[in-house]
């Protein structure tokens, strides 16, 4: 009897495994909509946009298929040198702030430097349509969107952009007014982060470098997106410059000893871009006689400390530096990662909970 039960158990187990195999083989493989430039008719190229615009996934960084598809799309977009291009946005369902910003920056660059004329097939998602309209991407794509942004998760996006020379800080007033509305604070540490980042774009990000033979954007050459949603402030600043890895040696061109010392400090970090980012952070912290220079990165990082808690990240080409402080009383934790895909520029982002500031302002 016992033997029979054992036989039955083994049969059941085999049966369920067999059923599983059958199910697997009959299930169609998940196919991803690959972005490709399609030629249709008379010189009309169509590039299909991915469903998700995402630079970095919280869980898998850049290993997820969504991120790969986005960068594959971006790479094809960057390769366009002239003429007309239609972007098929029908399938776009989600646009994360930094990825949307990078997309906007690349569109601006292609229009300014190569005279590319964009057209687009409108997204089917109403939310995406509203995001495009709110961020001004619809104008770059020559896309006519009739609906006015009304969704709570869209209407709080604010944008600012400007040229390398002739930066006008008053461009940032709508963003700061939004923060004041939520927090009641006229002065906020994030202003320092934004203005320093823009200063970095103006002074360092577009320096002449022997490796860089391509043309770089003049106006706009920096872009800022801000979103205040559910008590969280997200600010992202982007440039399409030479990256920290190339800019840092130029900034420290008169201080070879210091550069060498910094690079020695970060020698165990993987990836040259990640090493350069970490070196830039260390430079900000280092006590040199030249306090006034190179502190942009430190200040970008210090926004979190001044605020008390939040996240900061810096992506420069293939390097990524993250800093997290979970409460005012705990020390911040930083991490450096080598990424799979290059952003071809620098992105600095802050994520700050606003409730705390709000409570303080009530006191």
């Amino acid at each position: 009897m016992k033997k029979l039960r054992e036989k039955q158990r083994r049969f059941q187990s085999w049966k369920s495994a067999y059923a599983m195999r059958l199910r697997k083989s009959s299930k169609p493989k998940k196919t991803y909509r690959k972005s490709k430039i399609r030629h249709s008719g008379v010189d009309q190229r169509v590039l299909v946009a991915p469903s998700h615009f995402i630079v970095l996934s919280t869980r898998s960084l850049q290993n997820g298929s969504d991120v790969n598809e986005y960068f594959s799309f971006l790479s094809k977009l960057r390769s366009v040198q002239s003429g007309n291009l239609t972007i098929d946005m029908r399938g776009v369902r989600r646009m994360i702030v930094d990825a949307a910003l990078l997309f906007k920056a690349e569109l601006s660059r292609l229009i300014e430097l190569h005279g590319v004329r964009f057209d687009a097939i409108a997204p089917t998602s109403q939310r995406t349509q509203q995001v495009l309209k709110q961020t001004g991407i619809d104008t770059l794509l020559n896309l006519k969107i009739d609906i006015e942004p009304s969704r709570e998760d869209v209407i709080h996006w604010r944008i600012a952009e400007g040229p390398r020379a002739g930066v006008d800080p008053t461009e940032l007033e709508p963003m700061m007014a939004d923060i004041e509305e939520v927090t009641g604070l006229a002065t906020h540490p994030v202003y320092q982060g934004i203005i320093e980042s823009i200063g970095n774009c103006a002074e360092h990000a577009y320096k002449n470098h022997p490796d860089v033979t391509w043309r770089m954007p003049e106006s706009p050459s920096w872009w800022v997106f801000q979103q205040v949603k559910d008590g969280i402030l997200m600010v992202v600043v982007c440039d399409l410059g030479i990256g920290v890895n190339r800019a840092l040696p130029l900034t420290l061109s008169n201080e070879h000893g210091l550069l060498k010392k910094l690079m020695h400090l970060v020698r165990r970090t993987r990836g040259e871009d990640a090493r350069a980012l970490l070196a830039a952070m260390e430079y900000g912290r280092s006590s040199t006689g030249l306090h006034e220079r190179g502190r942009g990165m430190k200040n970008a990082h210090a926004v979190i400390n001044d605020h008390g808690e939040g996240d900061f990240y810096a992506i420069s080409n293939k390097g990524c530096y993250t800093y997290r402080k979970s409460s005012p009383s705990t020390a911040g934790q930083s991490k450096t990662v080598k990424l799979r895909h290059s952003v071809h520029g620098t992105i600095l982002g802050w994520r700050l909970p606003l409730e705390q500031a709000s409570a303080e302002s009530m006191q």
């Binding site: 002739g166 008053t170 203005i195 200063g199 002074e203 006689g289």
Partner: protein, 115 residues
């Protein structure tokens, strides 16, 4: 004993609520512009300046360094004299400390540059 004349400068009211970058060539409301408009002349005349920093959206460090450190460099002021004659009034302690640091280290930059 002659009384030293004092000039009060309120950044937010007299200059801007949105201070900009380091140099005039980089854009509006720069540290260099602030220095030229409000700091150099009174200090040249031997006056003391009280600078009220509050009321703005924030400051980039390059703005503060160029305004105050730049003043020390341009007028070749003695550090103690500069710290005595440039008074910072603000509720944000880190701004005051930063400005004082920029005044103290302004000379070392000049020395390093001259070296």
């Amino acid at each position: 004993m002659t009384k030293v004349e004092t000039v009060v400068v309120n950044v937010a009211k007299q200059f801007t609520k949105l201070p900009g970058l380091r140099y005039i060539r980089l854009g509006r409301f720069s540290g260099e512009e602030f220095r030229q408009k409000f700091l150099l002349e009174p200090l040249k005349q031997g006056k003391t300046i009280i600078v009220e920093l509050d009321g703005v959206r924030g400051y980039g460090s390059s703005f503060l360094e160029e305004a105050f450190g730049g003043t020390v460099r341009e007028l070749d002021l003695d550090i103690t004299d500069a710290l005595n004659r440039i008074k910072i009034v603000t509720s944000v302690e880190s701004w005051r400390l930063d400005v004082e640091e920029y005044i103290r280290t302004a000379k070392s930059r000049k020395n390093a540059t001259n070296a």
